[in-house]
């Protein structure tokens, strides 16, 4: 029940604030209710963590009710370690973004009620997506997340918001359409073999021809590749990010885009292990291109928001690379990466959002020497930036290195090229920091005053987690590992054994060879 409750609380919160009176007088009350709903969800998610038996693995806290009997559709929820991790990411980030949205200046005639309500709706749907164990239910919720984002961009974003929102919608609808084809295909396949079903437990042992499996796989994969986004389907992201408020950016890139990589793990690998293996050379190539391409593009950006969007293209490349390397190290790394990338990107979007709001411009050229007048702001930007370039000691390093080490044992060329990304990452972050924060104070930047205590308070949880998980990621890895092991063994490629395992040298010396 706890999963349903957890998804329902933010939805009910959204309903409550839509019913509340609009206008200036009640704005604070609306914000308080929104934050309260998200905090309650966070508390529930911690309760879920406590309920979840780490040692047992598998899908837990399951619920199952028949929804559409004719098609074998169930309202079925359940989480494994991967789902738990992503739900936790969602519930941790939502209060942060709601707090960060406190002072957002919205386009006139738009009310704060529906702005915050859409965010809560998004949170509820995301929780549903991460816990759905019925493919049809997943598809419905997956498509439903488009609606809140469409309105969050289209109604509350910047000057280009209409174009960006429509572009976002079309891209993602095309992906969704392809997935729908596969969903229908699944019905055809399962109903021929007996009773139609969409439950993951039934689908993961499907007996289909190689061609059918590949076609079904492609439908899912297309939707997830667009969502993630994988090169060359990434171009909607920079536009969408540049036209949204910081809070929308965080929800979109840190949480909703993760559905793409989450979907690859949950649906592509679990349902179509053979086809996933078949496609892996192509996917790995595209992922490596994403890493390098996204990083190079980030270096070339002048708009802070587009820059961060492109760094995410690069980071998603790492995540997808780790998933399709099919080693337990890289896949666990990818899952942890989803969480860490969520934190570090959230910190980056929020702190640059503050900079942009104070300067009235997102162009890097309009900044310079800000460190002098806003040392705390620049310190936070630096920590967030260093986490994005995967400095050891900060959370993303652990996950990135796991991805690379696992990939290396599968494919040296892929790992070697991907590793070049760490040089490019240093460039895109440090050049951005240098241009905005150092040197003499640039004319026009005088208004960029330092962070207020409330802003520090809203950013602090993310920063503390980034440092803490950098030194001690094990609590999350303990949750992730059992689920990852199941998936990796389901795909069946297996971890490559070390070529010269330790102990061999001693044996050789002992003359046993």
């Amino acid at each position: 029940m706890i999963l349903t409750v957890m998804a329902a609380v933010p939805l009910l919160g959204a309903l409550a604030i839509t019913l509340m009176p609009r206008g200036q007088s009640s704005a604070t009350a609306v914000k308080v209710v929104a934050v309260a709903a998200s905090v309650l969800t966070l508390v529930l998610s911690l309760a879920m963590m406590a309920d979840y038996d780490v040692g047992r693995g598998g899908y837990q806290l399951t619920e199952k009710h028949v929804w559409i009997e004719q098609f074998g559709v169930h309202y079925a929820l359940g989480v494994n370690g991967i789902g738990v991790t992503l739900i936790l990411l969602t519930t941790v980030l939502t209060p942060i973004v709601l707090l960060a949205a406190w002072d957002d200046r919205l386009p006139t005639s738009r009310s704060v009620n529906s702005y915050l309500a859409w965010m809560l709706v998004l949170e509820g749907l995301a929780i549903g997506v991460f816990s759905a164990t019925d493919a049809f239910l997943f598809y419905v919720l997956f498509e439903a997340t488009l609606v809140p984002i469409y309105f969050l961009i289209g109604s509350y974003g910047g000057p280009q918001r209409t174009y960006a929102a429509v572009k976002f919608l079309i891209y993602n609808l095309v992906g969704g359409l392809l997935m729908l084809a596969s969903i229908v295909g699944l019905y055809v396949v399962t109903s021929r073999q007996g009773d139609a079903t969409y439950l993951i437990g039934d689908l993961s042992n499907l007996d289909v021809s190689t061609t059918t499996e590949r076609l079904l796989f492609l439908g899912f994969m297309a939707a997830f590749a667009i969502k993630a986004p994988l090169w060359p389907f990434h171009t909607w992201l920079p536009d969408a990010a540049a036209s949204s408020t910081p809070s929308t950016q965080v929800l979109m890139v840190s949480v909703i885009d993760k559905i793409g990589t989450f979907g690859m793990l949950r649906w592509c690998l679990e349902l179509f292990p053979g086809a996933s293996d078949w496609a892996s050379p192509v996917v790995i190539t595209l992922a490596v291109i994403s890493i390098i391409y996204g990083a190079l593009l980030a270096i070339g950006q002048d708009d802070l928001r587009r820059l961060i969007a492109f760094t995410s293209v690069s980071h998603f490349g790492f995540i997808i690379l780790g998933i399709f390397a099919f080693t337990s190290t890289s896949t666990a790394g990818s899952t942890l990466y989803m969480f860490n990338h969520g934190l570090s990107t959230a910190a980056l979007f929020l702190v640059t959002g503050i900079m942009i709001a104070r300067r009235g411009s997102a162009s890097i050229q309009d900044f310079g020497g800000v460190q002098k007048i806003a040392p705390i702001l620049s310190g936070v930007l630096l920590v967030a930036g260093l986490s994005s370039l995967s400095l050891p000691g900060l959370a993303p390093f652990v996950s990135e290195f796991m991805v690379l080490a696992g990939t290396f044992s599968r494919s040296i060329p892929a790992a070697a090229v991907a590793t070049l990304g760490i040089v490019l990452a240093a460039l895109y972050i440090l050049l951005m920091y240098q241009r905005t924060m150092t040197g003499p104070l640039k004319e026009g930047t005088e208004g960029v005053h330092d962070l207020k205590p409330v802003e520090v308070a809203s950013l602090a949880p993310a920063l503390v987690l980034i440092v803490g998980l950098g030194f001690y990621p094990q609590p999350l890895l303990n949750v992730i590992n059992p689920a990852v092991d199941e998936i990796v063994s389901h795909v069946g490629v297996g971890d490559p054994a070390p070529k010269t395992p330790t102990g061999l040298a001693q044996q050789t010396e002992g003359g046993e060879h």
């Binding site: 790394g333 050891p392 796991m402 760490i422 490559p496 070390p498 395992p501 001693q506």
Partner: protein, 625 residues
């Protein structure tokens, strides 16, 4: 105490982070807390060191795992440390010289409004550097490795209101990251090959792997070492790094951090022992850098940059020694430690001079300073005698051993190292002449004066160490002490006796010194740097750092910039344009189809004719084929 050795890292780390978070109220005591933290680590280090010294020779390595850092699938990394002979020596060097530099900085940074932050960064550096040398696992070593890189970045750019400082900081970090690619790939290779990244296990298991694996590992590690230790081809960041406050140059960019590459090679001795090709690469890098650095040192008029060139060169010596295998490992470490003493001494001396000269670094504006700053002069003189290898001073013993071993390896390598010693004598004498001797060339309103005691006492301590550091070689102590870590080597017999070689080396140095003395005392030194056109090719190339920056610019920076611009253009017009444009193209296509529908019979007739012609020609072609 050994089981509490993690305090070595924890105390300065907590102090550093605490000082950063603490607000303005911390300004009054920040420097004291920072210095206390570093001193604490020094004392703990001393206790631990004497504890292992008191143990049996075979039992001097103490390892402890604090917790599991990362565990997933077969990947397992412990947050573990090893206090042994090698790391023990480093701990003493880092915390000892580090503490002296903390004390010195109290005076040097007195008038800087951000002194608390400066000490916070220094503390973070000490913690990271200790992590690097105490790590039992390559990935933990990498944590310290990048931590010192971060501290270096923050401290080079400490005066970041200056564009040049900020740019130098970015450059240092990015160039180091190129080296880190090598480090990271080496660690991945270890994992794939051996299933572990623990230092001790890798260095044993490598014997069971193929030589090509050992070579690959060695070269990748060397790439990392080149970045951190400013060795050719990744040397270009070190001279720019002199933008940082001078105590930083002394601690990070001379005595400790830049020697981490040498530590890495010596620590990975199992890998390098297994591959002659990798060792030869290390020798080549060391030899080229020792000559290149010395060359640059001869041409710079900026006292800090001249010293930075010298640092490159001296690390080249260490690298060269490390490349000589078991015969050279201990000597590399010996020279690393004596260099830590005398180069910190020289840099802090330079800082003391700048302190008295209104932060002017131009040696052409110095001259005859020996009377104005006697303590600085005497201590600097000790550093000078140590670095040129004056008999009896520490550098004499350590450099001697390296050149001797190099000759044992190959005549040409030995000759290169010998020539380097002569050039060292030349550029250091030049520096002495321009700074303390010759005539006054001071700018107006500059009143040179001796620095306060808080700065001169550390100088005196380092001056004494520059003289006495050679004592570590008494009875071959340091080689025996390090033998359990780096392995035993048979002594190579040279064609000539060792004492004769020592005399020969001293003679070569004397020639360099004499040449420089004559050149810089014959006529007055110009108070401004002569134009590029009026100096020899050697000076010109040296001034331009042997055109390393120009090369990087042409080969790496500019192509990357062009590629980036091209991709930005392509992403908008190409990738995005293609996908979003599909819809537009569909519209365009129908527009195109509409165009021929002109309504004129003659144009329809023409197109019918044209079409028939094509059909006929196609039929003919098909028949003929």
């Amino acid at each position: 105490m050994l089981e509490l050795a993690w305090l070595l890292v924890a105390v300065p780390l907590v102090s550093g982070l605490g000082l950063l978070v603490w607000g303005k109220e911390g300004d009054r005591v920040g420097h004291l807390i920072g210095t206390a933290a570093s001193s604490f680590s020094f004392i703990v280090g001393l206790i631990c060191f004497f504890q292992i010294l008191g143990r049996d020779e075979g039992d001097r390595s103490y390892s402890k795992s604090l917790f599991t850092w990362i565990e997933a699938g077969p990947f397992h990394v412990d947050m573990a440390y090893t206090f042994d002979q090698l790391s023990g020596l480093f701990v003493l060097l880092i915390t000892g010289v580090g503490t002296l530099i903390h004390v010195y900085s109290i005076g040097y940074m007195e008038h800087d409004a951000r002194r608390r932050r400066f000490f916070a960064y220094l503390n973070i550096f000490i913690a990271s550097m200790l992590t690097l040398v105490l790590a039992s696992d390559y990935l933990v070593l990498f944590l310290g490795w990048e931590g010192v890189g971060l501290a270096s970045y923050l401290l080079i750019g400490f005066w970041q209101h200056k564009d040049s400082a900020a740019a130098a900081a970015t450059k240092a970090f990015v160039v180091n990251r190129v080296g880190d690619v090598g480090m990271a790939l080496a660690i991945m290779l270890m994992f794939a090959q051996f299933g572990t990244t623990a230092i001790s296990e890798v260095n044993v298991s490598v014997n069971a792997a193929s030589t090509s694996t050992a070579t690959a590992l060695g070269l990748l590690l060397l790439l990392g070492a080149c970045g951190k230790s400013a060795q050719v081809p990744l040397q270009s960041w070190l001279l720019d790094a002199m933008e940082g406050p001078t105590p930083v140059s002394a601690l990070i960019h001379a005595a400790t951090m830049v020697t981490a590459g040498v530590y890495l090679v010596v620590r990975s001795n199992g890998v390098f022992d297994a591959s002659e090709a990798a060792r030869n690469a290390v020798i080549a890098v060391g030899l080229v850098t020792l000559l290149a650095g010395a060359w640059i040192g001869c041409a710079k008029d900026d006292i800090k940059k001249a010293l930075a060139g010298s640092t490159m060169s001296q690390i080249g010596y260490m690298m060269l020694a490390a490349g000589l295998g078991p015969a050279g490992y201990a000597f590399a470490i010996f020279h690393l430690i004596t260099h830590g003493f005398f180069k910190a001494n020289l840099f802090l001396g330079a800082g003391s001079i700048m302190h008295g000269m209104d932060d002017d670094v131009e040696m052409r504006h110095y001259g005859a300073l020996r009377a104005a700053m006697p303590v600085t002069f005497i201590t600097f003189l000790f550093g000078y005698l140590a670095i040129i290898g004056f008999p009896g001073f520490s550098g004499f013993f350590s450099k001697d051993k390296i050149i001797e071993t190099a000759f044992g390896h190959s005549f040409w390598v030995g000759l290169g190292a010998l020539v380097g010693a002569g050039v060292t004598g030349f550029y250091m004498t030049r520096m002495m002449m321009m700074t303390f001797f010759s005539e006054k060339r001071w700018k107006e309103d500059v009143h040179p004066h001796e620095s306060p005691k808080v700065m001169t006492y550390p100088l005196i301590a380092l001056g004494a160490l520059s003289l006495l550091g050679g004592a570590m070689m008494l009875g071959g102590w340091i080689t025996d002490f390090l033998e359990p870590v780096v392995g035993h080597a048979e002594h190579e017999e040279l064609a000539i006796p060792a004492w004769l070689l020592s005399v020969l080396i001293t003679l070569v140095v004397a020639v360099g010194v004499a040449l420089s003395y004559v050149l810089y005392s014959r006529e007055p030194i110009a108070a401004e740097t002569p134009a590029d056109e009026s100096v020899s090719f050697f000076s010109r190339a040296g001034r331009h750092e042997l055109y390393g920056n120009e090369l990087n610019e042409a080969v790496v920076v500019r192509p990357t910039r062009h590629l980036t611009r091209f991709l930005v253009f392509l992403d908008g017009k190409g990738v995005d344009g293609f996908v979003t444009g599909l819809a537009d193209r569909l519209g365009d296509a129908s527009q195109l189809l509409r165009k021929p529908q002109t309504g004129f019979v003659r144009s329809y007739a023409l197109s019918i004719f044209g079409g028939s012609l094509v059909v006929v020609l196609a039929l003919l072609a098909a028949r003929l084929a």
